[in-house]
Symmetry: C2
Subunit: 80 residues, 2 copies
């Protein structure tokens, strides 16, 4: 059954407040050489069907539920 | 400057409640062929330093702040 990995990230032009907080926290721990921290979501799932159907379904799922296309980008990989 | 991608996932033996909710929501939208949804975090960042130092720092950052090693696994990739 195809295994799918989905990566959802905030669009690059938008301020990532959560990332800024983590970057600051890393700085206070002494990791001051870390920059441009951005935080997204990673989903893994299995989807029944042939590769074409799975790719079509996952794209739809991202548009409808998993991502917010107004502010987020997504990409996914389908492994047989 | 090396670019780092970090993937943080709940350990496989633990119930992923958020993943179950998403799987149920996908089912109600008609995507009933989706199974084993698991949700994790994806972080991207740049880290100054040579590859060895960056790998050592990122491993430490994961252990100390980014992941909870008791319940989460992490892996990361360093791209030059």
């Amino acid at each position: 059954m195809p295994h799918v990995k989905v990566y959802i990230t905030l669009k690059p032009t938008l301020l990532d407040a959560q990332g800024r907080v983590v970057e600051h926290a890393l700085g206070t721990l002494g990791y001051s050489r870390v920059h441009d921290v951005r935080i997204g979501k990673y989903l893994s799932m299995t989807v029944e069907g042939d590769r074409g159907a799975v790719e079509r379904d996952v794209k739809e799922m991202c548009e409808r539920l998993l991502a917010n296309p107004t502010i987020e980008d997504y990409r996914f990989e389908v492994d047989e």
